[in-house]
């Protein structure tokens, strides 16, 4: 089956697209879906990236199974608001 994967911020720029369609087996863990996405972005292939995952606009663990019609999103470390970064003055 095909799923839609949304990309944001630095990942979106590196991929050159905000959305990708990926062919997966039903129930594939979202972490493995991201590995397929990574493999299609040459500069990201094989890297360990700090990302979180969302399915249908909710945070999920990497082992969350992806089903038909699900919308997957790859969430890089977030930085809303305008405050300081953790660990910086």
């Amino acid at each position: 089956m095909k799923v839609k994967v949304r990309l944001f911020a630095r990942l979106r720029e590196l991929a050159g697209t905000s959305e990708m369609e990926v062919e997966i087996g039903e129930g594939m863990p979202v972490g493995e879906v991201f590995e397929l996405v990574q493999a299609r972005i040459p500069c990201l292939a094989g890297q360990q990236l700090p990302v979180a995952f969302a399915v249908n606009a909710r945070y999920v663990a990497p082992d969350h199974p992806v089903g038909p019609g699900d919308e997957v999103a790859i969430i890089p470390p977030v930085s809303g608001g305008s405050g300081v970064l953790p660990g910086h003055p």
């Binding site: 944001f8 979180a52 606009a57 990497p62 930085s79 809303g80 405050g83 910086h88």
Partner: protein, 141 residues
Amino acid sequence: MFFLVTPDPLDPQQAVELVRRHEAGAVLVFLGVVRSQNLGRQVIRLQYEAYPEMAEQVMRELAQEAVARFQLTDVAIMHRTGVLPVGETSLVVAVSSPHRHQAFQGGQWLVDRLKERLPIWKKETFVGGEEWIEGELPPAG
């Protein structure tokens, strides 16, 4: 409760009026503002990018939790997206409560959680370059 992710300028007074209630003796408003210095660099502007549908969902979940934990009367949260020069307001959080301590504590808790969990990112343009600012990795689930 009121939640908004928008490319348009934010109106803090609108947020205040949205949470003002006869039973609430305290209204607290927080503004996040683009500041001129970060990591020792002179900031020119920030570009905010959101996953808007999810951001409003996360706002709703955190606001409901804040209401339950701190007995807040009402909550309004607004986040702006797009290119914002120094001095512009990127975040407005307004809370109301019967007494002031609940508003101060609930407001601080809510702003801290929003920074950890809102799917919103910013790219900083500073004198000499630009960079995506990557802060907190949201907890799973």
